[in-house]
């Protein structure tokens, strides 16, 4: 009896969610069409607000997931934020177009996307200059150097006690400020940007790697000691695997820092290439659509880099309690 009733309410909840989604997309399409045809602002905004309210209501039902079929419930963790993001994007577009917001203030997403595809060669060359030439090599060198110094700290307690407080202090400083000096030392091209990234990524890796190398438990260490294992054997068989979650944490922090460092260092001078260069010159020319297009590329590059690291981390630290399936 109750099973039948709940099945019926299942269907009812799912139907109302579907109806909301359908009504929302219909209204959204209507609002977009009217906005682009130059309808009056108040009409467009009313439609947009109605769409937003419907989407929000759909999200409330979906995120509660009570009485929804299991397929919809399983989709919820991805669908709810996606719907929210799409709604925001829609509002941005409709408000910019409908209220004729000046491009200098905020260009519409459609405008940014059009600019993005029209300028792919330029943006691609900028991406190579900033990401491939500066950010990634700097990230590799800085992280590797931080790790090697952490190993040295492991051998020398004096070094560790001296460097860790300094490392913690430096991580609170606006290191990015040394960019003009590095540009002066290493020239305008990617070398100075890579150097910036090296400096920025060194300390997070140092501090995390030292913590990671201390992460292996006492019994696990005693075990290796009872085998008469050498420092290297203990490192490879126990301490390095145990440090992996810490090392990946640093690599992920450094991935975001690398892109920021490379872009901001370009504000202090570059050849006529690079994402930071593009942002600062196009801002000067008030062509904000190009600036936003560069930001979109930076966001995609940043999240792809980060996402790749997350996937790799899941493979390497499959044994960690947070990853056990």
């Amino acid at each position: 009896m109750s099973a039948i009733a709940s099945a019926a309410s299942d269907r009812k909840q799912a139907m109302s969610l579907m109806a909301l989604l359908a009504a929302g997309s219909l209204l959204a399409t209507l609002a977009l069409m009217l906005a682009h045809r130059g309808a009056s602002g108040s009409v467009v905004i009313t439609l947009a607000l109605a769409t937003w309210a419907i989407a929000w209501f759909a999200n409330v039902i979906w995120s509660r997931s009570e009485g929804l079929p299991s397929l919809l419930t399983r989709l919820a963790p991805a669908a709810v934020p996606l719907l929210f993001g799409l709604t925001l994007l829609f509002l941005w577009e409709v408000i910019c177009v409908g209220l004729k917001v000046p491009t200098v203030l905020l260009p519409a997403p459609s405008l940014i996307l059009a600019r993005l595809f029209a300028s792919l060669p330029t943006l691609g060359a900028d991406f190579v200059q900033t990401f491939v030439r500066a950010a990634v090599p700097g990230w590799l060198i800085g992280s590797a150097a931080g790790f090697l110094v952490a190993l040295a700290c492991d051998r020398s307690d004096f070094l560790r006690r001296g460097l860790i407080p300094i490392g913690n202090f430096v991580s609170a400083l606006p290191i990015i400020g040394i960019a003009p000096i590095l540009v002066m030392w290493f020239g305008f091209d990617w070398q100075s940007k890579a150097a910036m990234v090296v400096v920025m990524t060194f300390f997070p890796m140092l501090v995390n790697a030292v913590a990671g190398l201390a992460a292996a438990g006492r019994l696990e260490r005693d075990l290796m000691y009872s085998y008469g294992a050498s420092w290297l054997q203990t490192l490879l068989a126990l301490r390095l695997p145990a440090a992996m979650p810490f090392l990946f944490n640093a690599l992920k922090i450094n991935a975001s820092l690398a892109l920021i460092g490379a872009i901001v260092a370009e504000f202090f001078g570059t050849p006529t290439l690079g994402m930071g260069f593009r942002i600062s010159t196009e801002v000067g020319r008030m062509s904000l659509d190009m600036v936003w297009a560069t930001i979109v590329i930076a966001a995609i590059a940043g999240s792809a880099f980060f996402g790749a690291l997350v996937l790799l981390e899941k493979r390497v630290t499959f044994w960690h309690p947070s990853n056990r399936g």
Partner: protein, 261 residues
Amino acid sequence: MSAQTAIDIRNLSLTFQTGDGPVYALADANLTIAKGEFVSFIGPSGCGKTTLLRVIADLEQPTSGSITVNGLAPHEARLKRQYGYVFQAPALYPWRTVEANVMLPLEVFGLPKAERRVRARKHLDMVRLSGFAKKYPWQLSGGMQQRVSIARALSFEPELLLMDEPFGALDEIVRDQLNEQLVKLWNETRKTVVFVTHSIPEAVFLSSRIVVMSPRPGRIIDVIDCDFGAERTLDIRESPEFLKVAHRVREGLRAGHSYDD
């Protein structure tokens, strides 16, 4: 000291320096353990039983006195891989499979791969876990994990097995099972076992000799012989002989004022 002596402890003391002054973990301990014996150290926390085991394993350094393990200083005995150590917790490496965990010491000792595999299989068989070789430790129950760690300690076939409250974290039902299995294992292999526990029934059931210890300072207050035969089962715990030995252990612990303060 005869060739049949596994461990010889003379006037052994160990003092820890702490911020609140020295702690006398062990004071003037004397004990000789023969090869093939199963000896338990029992006593309340702070009586130095674990410290004494760690001194045998070269995990702690005594302040004074002398100790030999299979005729060697503990440091040499460790480097010659004379003992296998089983900790309170399984201490298995979660990134290694069960089999790879058992092979870990063999890797450290540099045995060839084929040999490592054969030995791992053999000792997993011995603790009746051959079906779980490819699993990861965290996919096993606590009792199974501790059996893996015993297989790991046996894998390089040391003559001496040092066990530090290995079943302390397990529930009583699992603990009983493992006690029975351990007795069988000891009968099959006749290794020397030094076993630390704070459970009276466990000590009486497992041991051929029980060393009763007491804290502040940590010292040996009684050594009790007990042997209930190779074929013993858990049922003997209700027999008058068993209860008599258990009673003597309890009296010894009480005489040491172990739980007074």
